[in-house]
């Protein structure tokens, strides 16, 4: 690499490879591209130092090529590009500008080096090609400094006599304005002048495009220009211009109600008459966005949309038609209704984009009245989409999202929805396991009335051994297991559930899910065992009519405790009257169990055996979660087995108070109902005095000594609403022991504990959706349950009469706020629109003198519809502009405008009449504004902030 440090010799120059050589080399060895490129780069690095401009330029040319097509960094060469800029040869200059625009970083220091050269090239006397090169470069690369320094040049070029230059100056002005908002004050009016109908069509096209871009972030300051845009809307024959003007109106119309009224007719006219699909499309968009109140316009637009939709051979138009329909939004749902056939058909389109658009459209039209019908349609459609799992999941995702939105706002009939979730889970391509899992559990927690149906649905899922083979729905099975364990009292056949949970194929599940399964087994076992015991008690109570109970105080005591326990907790087990009238027990617990016959001694023993045999191998499992749980359950079973009575007969069992105690304990563990908690619950816990949360805990071990304990994790999403209040026997002893330890610990380290009871209650308690109605609705719920037991399971026809069940909602932090944050206008945009506002609203006092001279007759000539007059101005070109605006702009611009006037005066040798005419036209323009201002002064008390808009439009 010694050669690279020295400047290239003559040989290098003579033997330099041209760009064509390089391209050929690249083409002939497609595989060896990297090596060719690196060799070429080496050469370029040497050649580019050459003092010979040709060698240098060829090197730069090659580098430009490599940079733009092979993503080679060329920022190191930007200085060489600057070196070539002053070249007099057009082609070298061209190359230099191209290289510079490709290589410059927007914050590059080298940009400052180009300022003088640009100023030279931008002087109105330069030849057109150079002018346009410089403008093009400016429009790509202008930095704020460059924009500020060259504003005067842009200002003067905006009134250049050459239309192409003016058009390019307008485009460059966009960059200058956005980079340096202050320049708006100087050059904006010139840009506005280029909208004049007498300008060259390219100039208008370019200027309109610039306004369209400028108004994108904040259209409000552009309202005063509405008359100019309107003139273009009516008169322009150029589709490009019309499209941009329509975009502008789509932004402006919502800001000024009178505007919509004015533009609706011309837009309909375009809709009816134009052959250009692009223009028609833009009209449709404008109508959908801004003119949705005008029924005839919407009607017309929808007709055009239907034309688009019916183009079977053109997927583009079909896509755009669907897209336009969805823009109309739910307000005009009739439009969607009309095209229902096509939309449904589009779900099967070969193009995923069209399918997605159709789906989006359908989901946008979802109301509580049609959600059942549409969701079922979509889900059954998705299940048929075997060759296309991706879209199938998109559909499922959309349905889940729509139905789950805002805590199941749309869902009236949860039994139906739960069944639908089950159906989705059965879809062989379903990859939405996570969301279905969440919703299954969530509905279980929130909607009490849906629980029995929920349990039925998950039973079907759990029981199907085929589903276990599909890893994508393991999450759903996990939720199903949890639901069937938690709400086992709704199960018609708990034994069946237990068998499902223990079936051999469960070894296909990941261990985390298996752990959930086992926990569910534990719950089911507990439930079965306890209800068995209870049924024994029932028998006892019934039989006690005849038999005397031998003084069994202990048992009596604990019986009462059980019953009271159940009653106080008001769980779904239902309330049992203290006098033991279990027959009136509402709820399906007893009903369902009785339906299938109570548990018998044999069935309980069978259960215990089944669990034991299935879980025994797992107690050696390597996964802690699984091992832990299986051991826990096995221990319980061992304990139960130790009571010999279990193996003898029912009578003995009933009399054994230890069994009853264990049963009580077991029910106690699971009898608390789980509820949703607010995501912000933690925040609502007030920080106790003296607790500094941001304290550095590095010295924690020093403070606590050995006793640092990890307390319960905060991340659990469910927790018990109430605290255990059953403490009996040994258990109570141990627990008091631990509580005393705990309280001691607490006493010592008060600082790290939350304050007692009060806050806990506060954070635990979650207000249901209809707070005041809570007691009533609970009563209602139990009534519903009674009804439910009377009804056959599948009574969907009668469902609509059923009121929507209570869905527990938390007051805050529950629903995720999906609404996107308002787009914040960044500072630069703010400055920009501020400057525009200043120019258009503020500086109207200056040209007042001329207004006096304007007369009404001349004013009429300016009417947009009498285009004969304005057409005659076509030739008198630009030179006027400074007459009006030279005065309103800053000193520097005045200097330039004068110079331009001198420059262009040969071209602009117009006679005086024309001049005065134009003059008065311009002034008349201001007159109108002024008149409006006067009126506004009068109105200002009534309508404080009406945007200024000229009367012309009214």
């Amino acid at each position: 690499m010694a050669g690279s440090s020295s400047s290239p010799g003559l040989v290098d120059t003579l033997l330099q490879r041209s760009l064509d050589d390089l391209i050929k080399a690249l083409r002939s060895h497609p595989a060896g591209e990297p090596s060719i490129i690196s060799r070429a780069l080496e050469e370029i690095r040497r050649e580019i130092r050459s003092t010979d401009p040709d060698t240098k330029s060829v090197a730069l040319q090659k580098l430009t090529y490599l940079s733009s097509l092979h993503s080679i960094d060329m920022s190191w060469a930007s200085f060489h590009a600057v070196e070539l800029l002053p070249s007099t040869s057009l082609s070298l200059k061209r190359l230099a500008y191209l290289a510079a625009s490709l290589s410059f970083h927007p914050s590059s220091d080298l940009l400052l080096l180009t300022t003088n050269q640009l100023r030279k090239d931008l002087s109105p006397s330069s030849p057109s090609p150079i002018l346009s090169l410089a403008l093009e470069f400016l429009s790509v690369a202008a930095s704020p400094d460059l924009a500020r320094d060259l504003t005067p040049e842009i200002h003067s070029l905006l009134s250049s006599p050459k239309p192409p230059i003016r058009a390019k100056a307008a485009a460059a002005a966009l960059r200058v304005f956005t980079r340096c908002p202050d320049s708006v004050r100087i050059a904006f009016k010139r840009l506005v002048d280029n909208l004049d109908p007498s300008s060259d069509p390219r100039v208008i096209s370019s200027a309109v495009g610039v306004f369209c871009e400028l108004s994108a972030s904040d259209p409000k300051p552009f309202l005063p220009l509405a008359p100019e845009f309107y003139r273009l809307l009516v008169n322009s024959k150029n589709n490009w211009v019309l499209i941009k003007v329509l975009k502008l109106f789509a932004r402006l119309a919502p800001l000024e109600p009178r505007l919509a009224n004015r533009i609706v007719d011309p837009i309909c006219e375009h809709l009816r008459r134009s052959n250009a699909k692009s223009l028609v499309l833009e009209c449709i968009h404008t109508v959908a966005v801004s003119l949705a109140d005008y029924d005839h316009a919407v009607r017309l637009a929808v007709d055009k949309m239907r034309e688009f939709l019916s183009c079977d051979d053109d997927p583009n138009l079909r896509y755009l038609g669907l897209h336009a329909l969805s823009m109309l939004g739910p307000r005009h749902s009739w439009a969607v209704e009309e095209n229902k056939q096509v939309i449904i058909k589009s779900l099967n389109d070969p193009d995923p984009n069209i399918r997605r658009e159709a789906l989006h459209l359908i989901m946008g039209m979802l109301f509580d009245s049609n959600v059942v019908e549409i969701s079922m349609l979509l889900v059954s459609f998705a299940s048929k989409l075997t060759p296309n799992p991706e879209f199938c999941n998109e559909i499922l995702g959309a349905v889940l999202l729509a139905c789950g939105r805002n805590v199941y706002e749309l869902v009236m009939d949860f039994d139906w929805y739960v069944t639908l979730l089950g159906e989705m889970a059965r879809n062989p391509h379903c990859a939405k396991g996570e969301e279905i899992e969440r919703q299954l559990v969530d509905i279980g927690l929130r909607v009490k009335d849906a629980r029995s149906e929920l349990v039925r649905v998950v039973r079907d899922l759990l029981i199907d051994p085929a589903l276990l083979g599909n890893p994508s729905i393991h999450r759903i099975l996990s939720a199903s297991a949890w639901v069937s364990g938690e709400y086992v009292e709704f199960s018609r056949n708990p034994l069946e559930v237990l068998e499902a949970l223990l079936q051999p194929r469960t070894n296909l599940l990941p261990t985390s899910v298996r752990a959930v399964y086992m926990q569910a087994v534990f719950k089911v076992l507990t439930f079965c065992f306890c209800s068995y015991l209870e049924s024994l008690d029932d028998g006892q109570i019934l039989s006690s009519l005849g038999n005397t109970i031998s003084g069994d105080g202990c048992q009596e005591e604990s019986d009462a405790a059980t019953v009271r326990f159940v009653t106080n907790d008001n769980t779904m087990v239902g309330s049992v009257d203290d006098d033991g009238a279990t027959d009136c027990m509402p709820g399906s617990l007893m009903g369902s169990v009785k339906l299938n016959g109570p548990f018998t001694h044999e069935s309980i023993l069978y259960m215990l055996n089944l669990i034991e045999t299935s879980l025994a191998p797992l107690s050696e499992c390597g996964e802690v979660e699984v091992q832990d749980r299986s051991r826990g359950i096995l221990c319980l079973i061992h304990m139960l087995r130790e009571f010999q009575v279990l193996n003898c007969n029912e009578e003995a069992l009933r009399k054994d108070c230890r069994v009853i105690e264990i049963a009580n304990l077991m029910t106690g563990v699971f009898s608390q109902e789980l509820g949703p908690i607010s995501a912000s619950a933690q925040k609502r816990v007030s920080v106790p005095d003296g607790l500094i949360l941001k304290d550095n805990l590095a010295d924690l071990t020093a403070v606590l000594g050995e006793e640092v304990e990890v307390s319960g994790s905060v991340t659990t999403s469910f927790f018990h609403r109430n605290h255990h209040h059953v403490e009996t026997g040994d258990e109570s002893k141990t627990s008091t022991e631990s509580t005393s330890l705990l309280s001691e610990h607490r006493k010592r380290h008060e600082l790290y504990y939350l304050p007692a009871e009060k806050d806990e209650i506060q954070s635990n308690d979650y207000p249901p959706a209809n707070d005041p109605q809570l007691p009533v609705s609970q009563g209602g719920a139990s009534e519903d349950l009674v009804e439910f037991t009377d009804q056959p399971f599948l009574s969907r026809q009668t469902k609509p009469t059923k009121p929507r069940p209570v869905v527990v909602k938390l007051d805050d932090g529950d629903v995720q706020h999906n609404s996107a944050p308002r787009p914040t206008v960044d500072l630069k945009d703010d400055l920009l629109s501020g400057a525009v506002r200043d120019v258009l609203f503020g500086n109207e006092d200056k040209p007042k003198q001329s207004q006096m001279r304007s007369s009404k007759s001349q004013r009429r000539k300016k009417d947009p519809l009498t285009s004969v007059e304005s057409a005659s101005h076509l030739k008198e070109s630009v030179n006027f502009v400074h007459v009006e605006h030279g005065s309103s702009s800053s000193k520097s611009s005045r200097r330039h405008s004068h110079s331009t006037e001198k420059q262009s005066s040969p071209g602009g040798s117009m006679d005086k009449e024309e001049r005065s005419h134009k003059n008065s036209m311009n002034s008349h323009h201001h007159h109108r504004k002024n008149k409006h201002r006067q009126r506004e002064d009068v109105l200002s008390n009534l309508v404080p902030h009406t945007p200024v808009i000229q009367d012309f439009l009214l």
Binding site: I23, L69, L98, S139, A171, A172
Partner: protein, 143 residues
């Protein structure tokens, strides 16, 4: 900004022309081109010519072995952009005569200049083929 970038890509996914109207670093460009090209080339002719990608809408059209891809703002008129692509192709065709991939490879600068005449800073400034080609013809004559 209406148009954000113009890409010409051949069937193999090699870039033949790239013009950006907003600043992206080389890495961003490379990633963007890769993703978009992969997305668009996988599509069949029975599918529509619009692809949404990140915050862009890509409007593309295939001519023989070349794909013309134009990235635009989301509210840009898709059909107008298709017309623009067609105009670009017609212009190139008029200049080169039966334009093909090789023409663009060996005359990349000219293709750039045509584009520069047509689009500035993302705005379409010139739609007349004669006007677009005039400066290039002038340059050809001079050299």
């Amino acid at each position: 900004m209406g148009i954000r970038f113009v890409l010409l890509v051949n069937k193999q996914g090699q870039t033949r022309l790239a013009q950006y109207y907003e600043y992206l670093t080389l890495d961003e460009r490379r990633a963007l081109e890769g993703e978009i090209v992969r997305k668009c080339l996988a599509r069949t002719e029975h599918q529509c010519s619009f692809v949404e990608h990140r915050n862009y809408k890509v409007v593309y059209r295939r001519y023989a072995s070349l794909f013309f891809l134009v990235g635009v703002d989301n509210d840009e008129n898709e059909l107008a952009i298709l017309e623009f692509i067609h105009l670009l192709v017609e212009t190139m065709d008029r200049h080169f005569g039966n334009v093909c991939e090789l023409d663009i490879m060996f005359h990349l600068e000219k293709a750039h200049f045509m584009l520069e005449e047509m689009v500035m800073n993302g705005c379409i400034v010139e739609t007349n083929k004669q006007n677009i080609l005039a400066p290039i013809q002038l340059m050809d004559k001079a050299s």
